[in-house]
Symmetry: C2
Subunit: 282 residues, 2 copies
C-alpha cells in the first residue's frame, strides 16, 4: 500500500499507525484530526509519517482509511469523509461496538458501501492519547472483523492484512455476536469498575486509604476514558443493560447464600470462579 489514513491518532489509532510503519505495510501513514499541534507532536514522536487537518488531502490517494475515534463522533466524521472518498478506498474502524457503527455508516452513505469493513481490536489500556500508543499493542491479541452483507472479499482481505501484520489474530463474526460477546467481556467489567468507584464515593471515599493491590487491579479500568465509555453505553445499550441485569441476579444469588450461611454453596461458587479464572490464565 502507498497510503493509510488514520482518523484520530489516539491510543488505538497511534498504536496501529506505529505497527503499520514498522511492518512496512504502507509508505505513508497520514494522521488526520482537528488539532495540528497534537498531530505535529505525534509525527515528531514517530507515531505517523505525515499529518493534515484537511480531510480532502487526508483521503486523496488513500488505500485505507481507519476511523479510530470514539463511536459517538462517527456520524460527523463519516459526513466529512463521504464527499472526498474514492471508490477504491477501503473504510474500516476500530470502534468498540459494531451494530451501531454499521447503522451510522448505512445512514450517512444511504447504503452499505462494498469497501466498508467494520473491525474491533481486543486490546487497550486505561490510558489514552498517542503518548500511550505502542506498536506492540496488538501482538498476540484478537481482532474481530464483522463484515456486512455488502463487504467485498477484497476489502475484508485488506483489513485482515493490516491487523495480521500488526501481530494480531483475526476472527470473523456477526456484529450482533460481537456486541453480545464484548458486552460481557469488556463492557460489563468496565461498568462494574466504574460502579465500585461510584459506590465508594457515595459511602466513604477515604476508605481507599485501606485498599490493597486487589482493589487497585479490580478498579484499574475505572480510569478509562469517560467519553469513550459513555458512547459505548449508548451504542450497545441493550447488551450492556442485559449483562448488568444478569450480573445483578448473580449478586442476588450470592447475597442469598451468604445471608443463609450456606457454607457449601458459598465455597462452590468461589471454587468454580477460581477454577475458571485459573484455567483461563493458562
Amino acid at each position: 500500500m502507498n497510503k493509510v489514513c488514520i482518523v484520530g491518532v489516539g491510543l488505538i489509532g497511534g498504536s496501529l499507525a506505529k505497527a503499520i510503519i514498522r511492518s512496512k505495510q504502507a509508505m505513508h501513514v497520514v494522521g488526520f484530526g482537528r488539532d495540528a499541534q497534537r498531530l505535529q507532536a505525534a509525527q515528531n514522536n514517530g507515531v505517523i509519517t505525515d499529518y493534515t487537518t484537511d480531510i480532502k488531502e487526508a483521503l486523496n490517494g488513500a488505500d485505507i482509511v481507519v476511523i479510530a475515534a470514539p463511536v459517538g463522533s462517527f456520524e460527523s466524521i463519516l459526513k466529512s469523509i463521504q464527499p472526498h472518498l474514492s471508490e477504491t478506498t477501503v473504510i474500516t474502524d476500530v470502534g468498540s461496538t459494531k451494530a451501531s457503527v454499521i447503522k451510522v455508516v448505512e445512514s450517512v452513505f444511504g447504503s452499505l458501501p462494498s469497501n466498508f469493513v467494520p473491525a474491533h481490536p481486543i486490546a487497550g489500556k486505561e490510558k489514552s492519547g498517542f503518548e500511550a500508543s505502542d506498536g506492540d499493542l496488538f501482538v498476540g491479541r484478537k481482532v474481530i472483523i464483522t463484515p456486512t452483507e455488502s463487504s467485498s472479499s477484497e476489502a475484508v482481505e485488506a483489513v485482515k492484512s493490516i491487523w495480521q501484520a500488526a501481530g494480531a489474530t483475526v476472527d470473523m463474526m456477526s456484529a450482533a455476536s460481537h456486541d453480545e460477546l464484548l458486552g460481557m467481556t469488556s463492557h460489563l467489567p468496565h461498568m462494574l469498575a466504574f460502579s465500585i468507584m461510584n459506590y465508594l464515593i457515595s459511602q466513604n471515599p477515604s476508605a481507599s486509604l485501606y485498599a490493597a493491590g486487589g482493589f487497585r487491579d479490580f478498579s484499574r479500568i475505572a480510569s478509562g476514558d469517560p467519553i469513550m465509555w459513555r458512547d459505548i453505553c449508548l451504542n450497545n445499550k441493550e447488551a450492556i443493560v442485559k449483562h448488568i441485569k444478569g450480573y445483578r441476579d448473580t449478586l442476588d444469588n450470592l447475597i442469598d447464600v451468604i445471608e443463609n450461611e450456606n457454607t457449601t454453596a458459598i465455597e462452590t461458587l468461589f471454587r468454580d470462579a477460581k477454577s475458571t479464572r485459573d484455567q483461563w490464565l493458562v
Copy 2:
C-alpha cells in the same frame, strides 16, 4: 525477642516470618502446623528457622504467637493453644475479619486476655502457600490493629513493633470500623470478582477467549483461596451483605441512566469514578 511462633506458614504467615528473620526481631521463628513435610520445605526455603507439629513445643518460651490461618479454623486452633499458653506470651492474628476473631477468642478463653491483640495486614496476593511468601510484602502497606478493651499497652506495642519492623505503617481502629471499611475495600471487590466469573460460567465460558487485559486485571482476585473467602463471608456477613446491596443500588442507578440514554448523567458517573481512581493512584 527470642522466639516467635507462626501458626500457619502460608502466604501471610510465611511473609511475616521472612520479614521477622530479616529484621532480626527474633532469634527463632518457629512454624507450627499439621503437615511436617510442608513445614520442612518452608524451613529448607528459609521461610522459618524451626518448625514443629507439637503445639506445646511450639508455644514453649514463645514471646509472640501469630495465628495466620483462615478465620474458620481459629476456634480449633485457639482450643489447642490455650492449655499451653504462658501468661507472658502475646497472642495476635492476621485474620481478614476482626469482630468475629475477638468473639471466638472470648468464647474459647472465657474472657479477653490482656495479651491478645487482633491485627490485620492490608496486603495480599491471589496466590497462597509459603511458596508465594515475600519478606517485602508488607513494605509501605498498612496494618490495622484493633485492640480490645482488655489489650494491654505492652502487648499492643509488641505487635506494633513486629509490623513496623516488617516495613508497614500501623493504624488503630475499632474492630467494627475495620470490618465495615474492609468490607468495602477488600471483601466487596472479591465478591464482585468471584461473581463476574460465576456470571460468565452461567452465560458463555468461552467468551473469555475475547477478553483483554481489562478483564484479566478485573478478575485477578477471583483466583483467591475459596476457603479463606468463604470464611470471610461467614465472619463479616452483615457488612458484606450491606455492601453488596449498596453496590447493587449503584448498578440499578447505572441501568436507569443507560436505559434512559441520559448522556450527561452517564458521562458524569464515569468522570467521577475515573477522577477518584486517578487521584487515589497518585
